[in-house]
């Protein structure tokens, strides 16, 4: 594994991109690693481009802000690519050699020959994962898409332990959390979906665990040394 892993998450407002970054970094911190996470967004509105960044390392991390040279890019919605709802163009701009792409989509998105040549030359495998479809199947709500994406990342990279992830999820959803208006509204919406808070936590973890398995299976099929 690299000395430092930089993860860029691109998605749409309301998908939980910011929440995923904070939860992942919290889990890494609980694992005893150094981590730092921060979001970047404009005026908060649903469906507008939103990004967040996580940096994980053994050493103290000072770097913060927009992540220009990521090791892993996670695309939370196909339109980030197809409609350019992205802070960078192309969506994989700056990705490091031997990095990884995780895309939430039911079927592979048609990219140009130049794109595929770039991925091949730079040994960047693509993991297409139907995170939203799985979220609806497992948790009964597309609001768990971000949990699916975290599961995919964890299975493919083993960056954080499942115990720490569970503790981080408990931190975020298990107690009172002060957030901006938009986030608070969504928090309320997801809580209404479940009769009890424990059920919400359980469904989130179930989504993570099931998609984790897919990630772990996928990485076995990749020959090039990912994140080495």
């Amino acid at each position: 594994m690299r000395k430092r892993v930089n993860i860029r998450m691109s998605g749409l407002g309301g998908q939980g991109v910011v929440t995923s970054a904070h939860v992942l970094a919290t889990a890494a911190s609980k694992d005893g690693k150094n981590a730092i996470s921060n979001p970047f967004f404009g005026a908060e509105k649903r469906m507008a481009p939103a990004e967040s960044y996580v940096r994980i390392a053994g050493e103290r991390i000072y770097d913060r802000g927009e992540l220009v040279y990521p090791d892993v890019i996670m695309i939370f919605h196909p339109t980030v690519i197809t409609l350019g709802k992205c802070y960078t163009m192309p969506f994989y701009d700056g990705i490091k050699k031997g990095g990884m792409l995780i895309i939430n989509t039911d079927k592979p998105i048609a990219l140009s020959d130049d794109d595929y040549r770039f991925f091949e030359e730079n040994e960047i495998p693509i993991f297409n994962v139907p995170a939203t479809t799985l979220a609806v199947e497992i948790a009964g709500t597309e609001l768990a898409t971000n949990m699916g994406m975290l599961g995919a990342l964890m299975g493919a990279t083993k960056l954080v332990s499942m115990e720490s992830m569970e503790a981080a999820i408990q931190d975020r959803f298990g107690k009172k959390y002060v957030a901006s208006g938009g986030t608070a509204t969504l928090d309320e919406a997801i809580k209404k979906k479940f009769a009890k808070k424990e059920q919400l936590l359980k469904k989130n973890m179930e989504t993570i665990r099931q998609v984790y398995e897919l990630g772990a299976e996928w990485i076995e099929t990749i020959k090039s040394p990912v994140l080495a």
Partner: protein, 399 residues
């Protein structure tokens, strides 16, 4: 009652009032992973704040809302939302005149809307704690980090500290009250952080128990008489000297302005003791230095790490206080440097101007790189700038 006599007692919510030095240096601390907004909540929980007033503006809204929660829980005496930022800062003045410890937060356009109050706070010797979570103030509109806002308040007469990390932020918020309230200082203090880069970023921070709190503010240690209509500063507001063009009015203005500036300089000794100096140096004997404040330092540290991997040694000088400005410290720390890079998150380059004004041979200062309007400064951009300048110099030698 002298607030020192409260040490060892419990406040109404049950926290133990402790000596500030105990809270800062001796009380056991635990590691937390939290955002800058949460850091505000935890610092203010321990700060025995009497009054907090704010108005929502990104990126400080979350922090202000969390202080509201503290009021609900009973940790803060009074809390309300003002009509706008100008009203908020005026209301803060009223509370402070009345002898309260006052905390407020603002950002970007809010800071500018409130601006008129800052030199008024200074002249009135009100030790208000202002947390500025800085962001863009220009059009096109930006809610993202930009430090132009700090450059715009540097001559208001306030103490201005600039935190780099969540840990700095927590410590500066608590220690800032102590320095600002010293009788020979007794000035407002702006504790600045870069919006989003600190306010919305989760980072490690070590925090003492929530069972401990600072002694309350003691208004009887104020160097000016509380709300006395016949003495400065209220005398000057009640019956402005500007109305009387005579020698006494000019002399009063001149001497009082000098006194408030001198008070800012007098904060040095308290600040040096509490935050370990006005600057922090790392390999400052290097030929090449990065000198700046806030997130620019954080990015500078990463740039120095990347350059070290290539065998280029770069030192760091972190400026913790913008006012008082560490003129002498910077002069000493940079005396052997051949090149002094000043990365900044604003288009104006005010920090480079400040540094140029206090060191000899200031052609050594390279004002940059700069980003503005909410752009990020990846360490690679600083690396590129340093290499570009080094390459130009090499060419010059060969010619």
């Amino acid at each position: 009652m002298d607030s020192k006599s409260l040490i060892g007692t419990r406040n109404k919510i049950g926290q133990k009032i402790v000596d500030p030095d105990y809270l800062f240096y001796e009380a056991p601390r635990e590691r937390y992973f939290m955002t800058g907004s949460e850091v505000v909540r935890e610092a203010i929980r321990r700060a025995s704040v009497d009054v907090s007033i704010s108005y929502p503006i990104t990126p400080q809204s979350e922090a202000a809302a969390m202080v509201g929660d503290l009021w609900v829980e009973g940790y803060v005496g009074e809390y309300f939302r003002g009509e706008n930022e100008f009203a908020v800062m005026s209301e803060c003045a009223g509370a402070s005149f009345g002898g309260a410890r006052v905390f407020t937060t603002t950002s970007g356009p809010g800071t500018l809307r409130a601006y008129e109050n800052f030199p008024m706070w200074v002249g009135s010797r009100l030790p208000i704690m202002l947390n500025m979570m800085v962001r863009g103030v220009n059009s096109p509109l930006s809610i993202q980090p930009d430090t132009l806002e700090i450059g715009l308040i540097i001559d208001t007469g306030m103490l201005i500290w600039h935190a780099e990390t969540a840990q700095d932020f927590f410590d500066y918020l608590l220690k800032g009250f102590i320095v600002a309230e010293e009788p020979d200082v007794h000035l407002p203090i702006a504790v600045c952080i870069d919006g989003f880069f600190v306010s919305h970023t989760k980072d490690d921070v070590y925090i003492p128990s929530a069972d401990l709190a600072l002694p309350t503010y003691d208004p009887y240690r104020s160097p000016v008489v509380c709300m006395d209509m016949e003495s400065p500063p209220v005398r000057m507001m009640r019956d402005p000297f500007v109305m009387k063009s005579n020698y006494i009015s000019y002399a009063t203005q001149a001497s009082w302005q000098q006194e408030t500036r001198a008070a800012c300089e007098r904060s040095r000794k308290h600040t040096i003791r509490l935050i370990g100096g006005l600057i922090e140096e790392e390999n400052s004997d290097a030929d090449i230095l990065i000198v700046s404040s806030g997130t620019a330092v954080a990015q500078g540290r990463e740039a120095a790490r990347l350059l070290a991997e290539e065998g280029i040694r770069v030192g760091i000088v972190k400026i913790k206080t913008i006012r008082p400005f560490p003129y002498e410290e910077i002069k000493q720390a940079t005396k052997d440097a051949r090149l002094i890079f000043v990365p900044e998150f604003n288009v104006a380059g005010w920090m480079a101007r400040e540094i140029k004004a206090c060191i000899p041979d200031n052609h050594r200062v390279i004002a940059g790189p700069h980003v503005a309007g909410g752009m990020t400064m990846p360490p690679e951009v600083i690396v590129e700038e340093i290499k570009k300048v080094l390459a130009t110099q090499k060419e010059a030698v060969h010619e």
